[in-house]
Symmetry: none
Subunit: 348 residues, 2 copies
Amino acid sequence: MLYFVGLGIEQSPSLKALKILKGCDHVFYESYTSPSIHPGVLHELREQLGDSKVQNVNRIFVEDGKKILEVSKGSNSALVCSGDPLIATTHQELRTRAIKEGIETKIIHGSSIVSSVIGEFGLHSYCFGKSVTMTREPMQHTAYYAIFRNLLSGLHTIILLEWDESQHFFLAPKAAAESLVLAENDIKYLAIGSETLLLVASRLGTDNPSLKVTSVGKVDSEDLGDPPHVLIIPGRLHFTEKEALAAISGKDTESMADNSANIERVSRRMVETYTRKTLTALERAKKVSANSKQKVRFDEIFENVECYTDDAKRFLNEGREELAVLSIGYAEGLLDSLRFGRLLEFEW
Amino acid sequence: MLYFVGLGIEQSPSLKALKILKGCDHVFYESYTSPSIHPGVLHELREQLGDSKVQNVNRIFVEDGKKILEVSKGSNSALVCSGDPLIATTHQELRTRAIKEGIETKIIHGSSIVSSVIGEFGLHSYCFGKSVTMTREPMQHTAYYAIFRNLLSGLHTIILLEWDESQHFFLAPKAAAESLVLAENDIKYLAIGSETLLLVASRLGTDNPSLKVTSVGKVDSEDLGDPPHVLIIPGRLHFTEKEALAAISGKDTESMADNSANIERVSRRMVETYTRKTLTALERAKKVSANSKQKVRFDEIFENVECYTDDAKRFLNEGREELAVLSIGYAEGLLDSLRFGRLLEFEW
């Protein structure tokens, strides 16, 4: 049996986890997938379980995995880490190998930074889109596009920051913010600017965590303290979310930018513009048609123009944007045909 | 001081949580935000902390919150629950009120079902889009649209199922699947069908969890056992994710549907269908127009129909889908105006 045991972001085993670890013959503790925010954790584990049982293992040992799988065949063993034990892909791969080799596996979950940071800021977990990880590369289109798409849908984005244990490197929030501004200057979707609301959580799980409600342009001047940090770019905020951010930061909610406000779907803008234009042209066409001597059923065309313009608005409100665009295009075409066919002369 | 303490999905306090709870004068335990999968949890807490200290409280007590806030002003108290303590919005609201009233708050996080289920299936957390909750309403457009949008981007969707403590009601996976099929029949985006790959996790955190890799059409015939259940509709699977699902289920990865493969942007399908229809109708209109005695510049209309049909294709290839849909709608309208105006009679 191979247990995967998470100590959560507070790096403290649950009673259930301890009971299981006490029944294990081998306990492997690794600290390279999550930063060790609590230096005494290995010592504490050894105090609880006995010095000889807990082995501190490194990345190569876990990625190789042979020793762990070998001892798990004949006895109970456990791989222990901070956070949730199956968020790291190397652990997932080890588990897949174990199952394939006929070794039973069981998971004792731990709190993960991803779900913890959501609650810390009082945000709703169903208001989050895809999360991203940012690295020290200067310009990161992938992260930018993901944030843009989330903002389009009004969703929040969690930004995890690169951490390299071997180099003791943590990507700074300031560097991540600068990288997003560089991407903005290149892609120009107007998704990120210096006013963009930015949340920074630091040292979650320790005894001195901090939560800052700031902006992309001001993050540099905040006193964030030591890493690890994790960022959130919020989309559209629910009023209870705003209240939570106001309570946490002491800032008033009015001063907080709505990052999604200026980002509308292209289709929405299109439908609104073309509806206005079509209805104006329709009025002009109606006036001119009164004096026309052509044998054309103008009334039927005009009715259809109105009908499809209404449809476009309805589809838009239902979130069926493609149908909305199709309808307004069709309405415009119906009307314009009269001009191309020299049946009516009117201006758009 | 008011602590919010999560017991994780295994409903077992960490050593750190226990130490804090021992130092509290009042411990409020609530079991209405998460199903109590482990009936002895209250008993265990009382054993650890003393009978008189732990009060079992209900929804009304927590939502009202006055008593909790009152005792937290003069002493240390804690609100304890399963999972993560800040995923429930009522807890978040209580925390916001506490901060506003000058009460210090601190969070001891617990593992949440949302992060746990991702790891259980060996999926990558950054491959998930917005999560949804499904209720017992028969047809749920909101959930359907969210899943559709995630699938379009290749992302996985977590589906939480309604749970009502007071009625001891758990929404069945089968009912959720049926509801999505109903929505599909109504909206027809071709996002969900009986072949759609569906993952069902049951009783996570207990001693007899189960993980099923099934499909929307087959979920009814799976032996899922007792609730609680949580569902995932995967999008595009990474090969390590496929390997994990294969290892968990004993099924081979080839038999697993790629839920994102058949989903094209609605706009793409729309443009292709309408282009075909418009060009066929154009040919018919041209034939009929040769014999028409109407004084209409048919040639100019026809040229424009062709021109905008070409534009639609070009915009589609450039990824400018909204413009493509607008163009094909316009081309169709130009042509159809001739029928509405009784200038030409031809079939679509």
